[in-house]
């Protein structure tokens, strides 16, 4: 069984934004106030591929009070139609991890994300297996920066960024931008990108002006800082 896991991975170009989600990834907010940006980024990872199966959002007790409830009318803009949404409210973190695991391995869900504080390593490993077994994508959403042991193949740190210039009204917020920092990855060195949401598809992509360059000056510093940290 372990032999299949150790299949050689193609070494990716570290400057390219890895747009395809791995079976299990971890998304953390750079600061607690960036939780909404991290949530949107996580949804973008799950909604990123052609799949009509539902997506499961698992939250624990704290979530509702601190951050509110997911708003399906707004989530539709991120590529997730209301018919694909299932929201699970668990009391405890153990239940949340169990629910996500069940959903991932059932084969009925395209993916799922769970908002957790500190998942044990064994649980993350189980999630990784479950996601592979069910052909699904799993994302662990963390409130703060993460440094503990995890089976997640990529770990992101998300920070909100000033939106692009609005086409018609300079005073209004334009297209959504995020700073996505890949803190740790199994298959290569870390990196950082400024992403922008496409108005039509709702997908996140590297900001057009920077496409092909991968990192701009400031992000390059972030990237080096991150690789030093890793």
């Amino acid at each position: 069984m372990s032999l299949t896991l150790l299949a050689p991975l193609p070494t990716p170009d570290p400057t390219l934004f890895p747009g395809v989600c791995e079976p299990l990834e971890e998304v953390g907010a750079a600061e607690p106030a960036d939780a909404a940006a991290a949530f949107a980024f996580a949804l973008g990872r799950l909604a990123g591929r052609e799949d009509i199966r539902p997506v499961v959002l698992v939250t624990t007790g704290l979530w509702l009070r601190e951050r509110g409830r997911p708003f399906a009318r707004g989530l539709a803009f991120w590529g997730l139609g209301p018919e694909r949404l299932i929201w699970i409210r668990a009391d405890k973190e153990g239940e949340a991890l169990w629910a996500l695991e069940e959903a991932l391995k059932s084969g009925a869900a395209a993916g799922g994300l769970a908002s957790v504080e500190a998942p044990p390593f064994v649980a993350t490993r189980r999630l990784d297996f479950a996601a592979r077994a069910g052909g699904a994508l799993g994302v662990l959403l963390r409130a703060g920066p993460t440094g503990d042991l995890s089976a997640a193949r990529r770990r992101w740190r998300i920070k909100a960024a000033s939106s692009s210039l609005h086409q018609f009204d300079p005073a209004a917020p334009g297209r959504v931008r995020l700073q996505a920092e890949l803190v740790r990855r199994r298959d290569g060195p870390p990196g950082a990108w400024t992403l922008e949401q496409d108005d039509e598809t709702g997908r996140l992509g590297v900001v057009a002006g920077l496409a092909g360059h991968g990192l701009d000056a400031t992000d390059r510093q972030l990237g080096t800082a991150a690789s030093a940290a890793a």
Binding site: R69, F71, A72, L75, P82, H166, P173
Partner: protein, 508 residues
């Protein structure tokens, strides 16, 4: 079937053979509510004043009656009695003569015949500490009379011979009110047989008002000339399978062994009719005359044994309280719905097709976390954002999509209740330049709005008294986006209250 009156467990039971009575507070002081055999034997009766009874029998032990607990005990017993019949009714018509009706139509042969079934029923009750008198007859009314006024503990009235069986019983066996009984006694009519000879028309006329008709009606019900409907405690399930054990099962392993067989049998019944279970119940009949049960709901009808077993296990077999053991286990589909036939897959790779897999997933999650924990969005066409969408407990079918599509202008997270913010604005009715939310001050860099959203004109005036809301999408210096709104218009609406600012939700 008539159990003797129960006493609360917090009172120590009286020593065997000692006269004991439950007392209740009546209009005329304390009266006896229920008595044991010794007290009855000493000449006391129900309804007697407690003081009189104590004068007659100074060593009478008494405790206050708790009628709601008596009823609860009777209900528990009714659930337990479902091991004999799916249709069990509680009879509380005559105070002091409460009991249970079991509809055994066509069912006695399962227990080795009518006499054997009665003996089994009474034996099991006796072992559970319930002293009962049981009777079986063609009509509920006749069985009622025989269970209470027969001189034997088990009475079996032969089919079609109700007249003879009832003839020697006292007229009290007809469930008549006190006034009617007193009149009958006055005329010297002591037994039910005395009434047979009287002309029916005269009998009905003899009494004033309704009483005469009541006597005739009760007599007809007892003899089977008129119908009597029973109101079962629970609607009988349409599909049920059960298995009795020779020896009581006292551990979960035993239950686990029998569960697959039951599930297979139930699924066989269900799929024969092309139906699937929507609500499952696993009932264990305990030797102490109680039942223990777990229930699980399904989001879509299913008749797959593996799924039903998994669901019950998820719900937690350990939640069954086996007590001193159970001697029968029943699995029933409390609700069944037509099963949509689906094309079986040619490849054996997946045993469940995706829609069924989703229903099965939702079932398992709901079984473990509770039904309200798993939700899907449901939309209402309303301009007020928090009213336009709710999360309803998930079913197998996806919700219909909303009509308006303004997703770009809607947040991804909405607060359950909008939170107040303090604002600093350059113009009184413009966009704020700064706002303080959750004790952090934020400078507004970009803003879009207002988008005016109010309650619909057709809603009731009470909810329309809400003030106009102007929503703004604002972005702070860190690039975080919020959905703020101002409630009320400066100087134009509700002049004595100044407008207030709130945060409704957060954008990505």
């Amino acid at each position: 079937m008539r159990p003797t009156a129960s006493s609360g467990p917090q009172h120590p039971p009286p020593p065997d053979g000692a006269p004991f009575a439950l007392i209740e507070k009546g209009v005329h002081g304390l009266t006896l509510h229920a008595l044991n055999a010794a007290a009855r034997g000493a000449g006391l009766w129900r309804g007697q004043a407690h003081a009189d009874a104590c004068a007659m029998l100074p060593r009478l032990i008494s405790a206050p009656a708790e009628q709601d607990r008596d009823l609860a005990a009777l209900k528990r017993l009714a659930l337990w009695a479902e091991r004999f019949s799916p249709s069990v009714a509680i009879d509380t018509l005559m105070p002091g003569f409460e009991g249970l009706f079991l509809d055994m139509t066509g069912g006695a042969h399962l227990f080795g015949g009518e006499a054997a079934m009665l003996a089994d029923l009474r034996g099991r009750l006796a072992r559970a500490g319930v002293e009962a008198q049981v009777a079986m007859a063609d009509t509920p009314a006749a069985a009622w009379a025989l269970a209470r006024f027969s001189d034997r503990a088990e009475t079996l009235a032969p089919a079609g011979a109700m007249r003879e069986a009832l003839a020697r019983l006292p007229v009290e066996g007809l469930r008549l009110e006190a006034k009617a009984l007193a009149l009958l006694k006055k005329f010297g009519l002591k037994t039910i047989g005395d009434l047979y000879a009287l002309p029916r028309a005269g009998l009905a006329r003899r009494f004033r008002g309704e009483i005469g008709f009541r006597v005739v009606e009760r007599l007809d019900q007892a003899l089977g000339f008129s119908n009597e409907a029973l109101d079962p405690e629970r609607p009988p399930p349409s599909y049920r399978v059960w298995t009795p054990f020779a020896e009581p099962v006292i551990d979960m392993a035993g239950v686990g062994v029998h569960l697959p067989g039951l599930a297979e049998a139930l699924c066989g019944q269900l799929s024969r009719d092309g139906r699937g279970a929507r609500r499952l119940r696993l009932t264990g009949f305990r030797v102490d005359g109680r039942v223990t049960l777990i229930e699980a709901g399904l989001s879509a009808p299913a008749a797959t044994a593996a799924h039903l077993i998994r669901l019950l296990r998820e719900k937690g077999l350990e939640r069954l309280d086996l007590g001193f053991g159970i001697d029968a286990l029943m699995l029933s589909a409390e609700r069944a719905e037509p099963l949509e036939a689906r094309q079986a897959r040619m490849d054996e790779a997946a045993d469940l097709a995706p829609p069924q897999a989703l229903a099965a997933l939702i079932d398992r999650l709901q079984a473990k976390l509770g039904e309200p924990a798993v939700r899907r969005p449901a939309f209402k066409e309303s301009w007020v954002p928090e009213r336009s969408e709710v999360w309803a407990p998930a079913g197998a079918e996806p919700p219909p999509a909303p009509e308006r599509d303004d997703a770009r202008l809607r947040p991804i997270l909405m607060f359950e209740a909008p939170e107040p913010v303090q604002t600093l604005a350059e113009l009184p009715d413009g966009v704020p330049a700064r706002f303080i939310w959750r004790r952090a001050s934020r400078r507004v860099v970009k803003a879009e709005g207002p988008e005016r959203l109010g309650a619909e004109w057709w809603t009731e005036p009470a909810s329309r008294s809400e003030r106009t809301r102007d929503y703004y999408r604002v972005e702070d210096e860190n690039g975080r986006r919020y959905w703020l709104y101002r409630e009320g218009l400066y100087g134009r609406e509700d002049a004595d209250r100044s407008p207030s600012w709130w945060i409704a939700g957060v954008f990505a």
